[in-house]
């Protein structure tokens, strides 16, 4: 039942991604200051925005889980956070490449957005050891939801604190004082953002479908009293 609509969604994702990449390379003008390397912006920033929204969505699913007690929401929350952590790795790598190319260092501590993102990433990276250290399934789901809500409240606060710790104002590529991006760049950026959002949604749906299928398989095996292969799985949570 999680597989419904997966095919059109995947096709739409691939089409939008292709469109956004062609816009990036053939339509968007070269940046006057940074030249070709600035094009990583169309990958880095949408990835970061999608990952952060994914963390927030994970928190919203966690609230739904605690309110309703339905473990399906816990699975949604888990997969959202899982996918956003993977996107987060990509954000940090593309950010480091961009920093190397434009400032000459792989890491710069005076770029508040990058530093905030690292802290948020470290916070959510502890979701896995935290979750898997709790054995009881119900309790694991409840505690993971509490974690997701706490971390969700932490994200905006952390961005604010890091931004305030920054004494100098750093030049920003996006939303500059001179009125932001030229129209072509803005269009390309928005298409890239939609493409990333679609990619995130598709991957989340794929993972939920896979989890649901393996859960069904396990239940069928149990019903047939056949020995399940590989013993207890660590791939929590189960989707019904």
């Amino acid at each position: 039942m999680y597989g419904n609509g997966l095919k059109p969604l995947s096709i739409a994702t691939v089409a939008t991604l292709a469109l956004s990449l062609s816009l990036v390379f053939f339509y968007a003008p070269l940046d006057a200051d940074q030249g070709f390397i600035q094009k990583i912006f169309y990958l880095h920033v949408p990835l970061a925005i999608t990952a952060l929204i994914g963390f927030v969505i994970g928190g919203v699913f966690a609230i739904l889980h605690l309110r309703s007690g339905d473990s399906r929401w816990d699975a949604y929350s888990y997969v959202s956070i899982h996918m956003s952590v993977i996107f987060g790795v990509a954000v940090l790598i593309t950010g480091a490449i961009w920093a190397k190319a434009s400032w000459g260092h792989w890491w710069v501590w005076d770029e508040p957005t990058l530093v905030s993102f690292l802290i948020v990433f470290l916070m959510y990276a502890t979701y896995y050891p935290f979750r898997y250290a709790i054995e009881d399934r119900d309790r694991q789901a409840r505690y993971a939801s509490v974690f997701a809500i706490t971390a969700g409240a932490f994200v905006p606060l952390n961005f604010m604190a890091v931004r305030m710790a920054e004494s100098l104002v750093h030049p920003r590529t996006f939303a500059t004082a001179e009125g932001g991006l030229p129209a072509e760049m803005m269009l390309t950026f928005l298409v890239s953002l939609v493409a990333m959002g679609l990619l995130w949604t598709t991957l989340v749906k794929f993972e939920l479908t896979a989890k649901s299928a393996s859960g069904q398989l396990k239940r069928l095996r149990r019903a047939l009293d056949a020995p399940s292969s590989g013993g207890a799985s660590r791939v929590a949570p189960e989707v019904s």
């Binding site: 916070m123 935290f130 939801s145 509490v146 809500i149 706490t150 606060l157 952390n158 604190a161 710790a165």
Partner: protein, 226 residues
């Protein structure tokens, strides 16, 4: 149903009495903090500290010492069946969160009453910065009490209790650390305390406290279910 205020003071009194009789957290925290000051003296090879270095050494030491206490906060509840007793008692679960956070706040304040004067004797020229420092640390303690209680109550029910508390609490404490060190750094400057952005950082600390006390209040019920 027992009124929440009565339950709160009973639980808080129980915790403080237990600590006074067993002394299992506070002396260890204080000893750890003082030893860490000595380690910093040699690690940094400095006999006097000021500005950002002083703020960093003081806050990092207090934070790590606090983690020792936070780790042990719910151990008695878990091992002696306190969780079951609380679940059976006709009280509002919020009282448990409030009492535990208050107990932790008392530990942290006691820790600082012991160790901050020692820090001043070890590394500072004058004690002029201590009153505003106390205010900033009190606000930081409140935030740490809220997040620490929340994380500790979950970690104690896991397989990797001692590991999880620092692992999850440290990233969560990053905004708190930014604001605390930001507030106390100008206080510990060479030429006596200055109050650059002091109010702003206190406001950030207050916001952190408010958010995580509300989160704790909202979710703590779910942590006591079984």
């Amino acid at each position: 149903m027992t009124p929440t205020r009565v339950a709160f003071s009973a639980l808080l009194g129980k915790d403080l009495r237990t600590e006074l009789r067993t002394l299992q957290s506070l002396p260890a925290m204080a000893l750890f903090a003082v030893t860490t000051f000595v380690i910093f003296r040699f690690g940094l090879d400095r006999t006097a500290l000021s500005g950002s270095l002083a703020a960093g050494v003081l806050w990092v030491t207090l934070l790590f010492a606090a983690i020792l206490g936070i780790n042990r906060l719910f151990v008695a509840e878990r091992e002696e069946g306190g969780f079951d007793a609380v679940r059976l008692a006709p009280i509002d679960r919020t009282a448990v969160f409030a009492a535990k956070a208050a107990a932790l706040l008392v530990y942290l304040v006691a820790l600082e009453l012991i160790t901050v004067p020692i820090f001043a004797i070890f590394f500072l020229d004058s004690a002029a910065a201590l009153p505003p420092l106390a205010l900033a640390l009190l606000l930081a303690d409140l935030g740490l009490a809220a997040t620490g209680t929340l994380i500790s109550s979950m970690a104690v029910n896991s397989r990797a209790r001692d590991l999880l508390t620092p692992l999850v609490l440290l990233p969560l404490a990053v905004p708190l650390s930014i604001a605390t060190t930001g507030a106390i750094e100008p206080l510990l400057g060479v030429g006596g305390p200055t109050y650059e952005r002091f109010g702003t950082w206190l406001a950030v600390l207050g916001l952190y406290d408010l958010i995580f006390l509300l989160v704790g209040y909202a979710v703590f019920d779910f942590l006591l279910e079984d």
